[in-house]
């Protein structure tokens, strides 16, 4: 079971709390998690990545085991701690301001 933490605006859109839990068959990757998230919560489509190109939105970041994995290839396997559910996969709205 994969644990995913969502930022507050996406919790509101999806109608969830901070943590959602997903079952994923096959390799657990960034792309697989986003596919599963969007399938279960259609309002999240287009909020984290482009509808068509699947390019990550500039101010959205992904963290796993305290590491920023935003720039990893979407099909890169995530750490075993995320796969086992010990650690969450975190979707974060980047700190942006000035």
């Amino acid at each position: 079971m994969i644990r995913v933490f969502l930022p507050t605006p996406l919790q509101t859109l999806a109608g969830t709390g901070r943590e959602v839990q997903l079952e994923i068959e096959g390799p657990v990757t960034q792309a697989a998690i986003l596919d599963a998230l969007e399938a279960r919560y259609p309002p999240l489509r287009g909020t984290m990545r482009d509808h068509v190109t699947h390019q990550r939105r500039p101010f959205v970041r992904f963290f796993a085991c305290q590491q920023d994995v935003s720039h990893d290839q979407p099909d890169t396997p995530l750490p075993p701690e995320v796969v086992s559910g010990k650690e969450p996969f975190m979707v974060i709205g980047a700190m942006a301001g000035g």
Partner: protein, 371 residues
């Protein structure tokens, strides 16, 4: 019960203000979509409880929400706006070609007759349509493929399609406006479009017959006079009496002919309202005075409306979609400011009062008359 519902879009969400037919006391409900910049929301003329809203936020992009109960509750619907086929290019600020790229929705215009049909004007400029209540959006690509498309250039606010007007006497006829391409008309339901910018004069465009390039800020039409259009251009207030084929200036005695908002009295097609704004660099009302100007002669002769509006130390703007009228017997007029105030007049502009004072910066105001 007769009343008015004001749909107010702001930098940080939407608010719904309601009143009975007297329009003296107002309830403020909101914020809806807190933290999401809500450029525009508008109700269906065919079903007053159906409202479409277009909140967006830079982190997570565009959303479209729909209400079926007059704004009490909302549900997200489809937010995918994908251009049809080859995107092609428009001009960037430096004149180089730039591929069309969806940025956000500026304006949502529900159909006059079908609650499930609505139009969305977006940046980069294009017109989208839904016929299933927002479950899917399809581009009407004939507009973007108008021969002049590669020459369209963004205004300072972006290449935005901000105005959509449907002709109630002809379902195939529609007007739209784009900053800074100009105004366009379709006679075939959006399949093909004609640029309607003749008569416009703009500093920086030496060709008096330029097909496109004018910075049209907003256009208004009275539903009983679909051939008469009023335009607030970047500079100049303009009028056309032939569906946009030719425009002439009606700025007359306005203290400045720059501005954004323009609207028409619900029962008097020759009575129009504007809010003059000082210069294209300052973007505040002139002389620190908040004044709506009204012409009862279809333009050229304007009177300042000040009763109830602050006449000192005001430095706000009133944006293009932030003025609206209701259709009660005594026409109500409403506008919102960049300072977060919403002002209302229940007597066609003779007197005004602030019905909300400390909202986030107001981006849009739509008055909905409830039977």
């Amino acid at each position: 019960m007769t009343g008015v519902r004001l749909l107010v879009g702001t930098r940080k969400g939407a608010f719904i203000l309601t009143s009975d037919g007297k329009r003296e006391r107002w309830n403020v409900n909101g914020p809806h979509f807190m933290g999401w910049e809500t450029m525009h929301l508008k109700a269906s003329p065919a079903d007053p409880n159906r409202i479409y809203a277009a909140p967006s936020i830079s982190w997570f992009g565009q959303q479209i929400h729909r209400s079926n109960d007059g704004g009490k509750t909302w549900e997200p619907v489809n937010n995918q706006f994908t251009y049809d086929g080859d995107t092609g290019t428009h001009q960037w600020y430096d004149g180089t070609p730039k591929p069309w790229e969806f940025k956000r929705v500026w304006h949502v215009e529900p159909s006059l007759t079908d609650p499930d049909t609505a139009y969305a004007g977006v940046e980069d400029a294009a017109l989208f349509k839904t016929t299933d209540g927002g479950q899917s959006w399809q581009e009407l690509p004939g507009l973007r493929r108008h021969g002049s498309g590669p020459r369209w250039q963004p205004g300072a606010g972006g290449l935005c399609l901000h105005t959509i007007i449907q002709d109630p006497s002809n379902a195939d006829r529609m007007y739209i406006a784009i900053s800074a391409a100009g105004a366009f008309r379709t006679e075939d339901g959006g399949k093909s479009w004609q640029a309607i910018n003749q008569g416009l004069r703009s500093e920086g465009i030496p060709d008096p017959n330029a097909e496109v390039g004018h910075c049209v800020h907003h256009v208004a039409m009275h539903p009983a006079r679909p051939n008469t259009l009023y335009m607030q251009k970047h500079w100049d207030v303009m009028r056309s009496d032939n569906g946009g084929d030719l425009w002439h200036e009606i700025s007359g005695n306005l203290p400045t002919d720059f501005g954004f908002a323009i609207d028409v009295h619900a029962h008097e097609p020759e009575t129009i309202f504007v809010v003059p704004i000082k210069s294209d660099s300052e973007h505040v009302v002139p002389d620190g005075k908040l004044r709506v100007y009204r012409s009862r002669s279809g333009g050229n002769e304007w009177e300042a409306l000040t009763n109830g509006l602050p006449q000192s130390d005001v430095y706000h703007n009133v944006l293009r979609d932030a003025m609206s009228v209701d259709s009660l017997d005594e026409c109500g007029v409403y506008f919102g400011t960049s300072g977060g105030q919403v002002y209302a007049s229940n007597d066609a502009g003779d007197t005004w009062s602030a019905i909300a004072r400390d909202l986030p910066a107001v981006l849009s105001v739509e008055a909905q008359t409830l039977a």
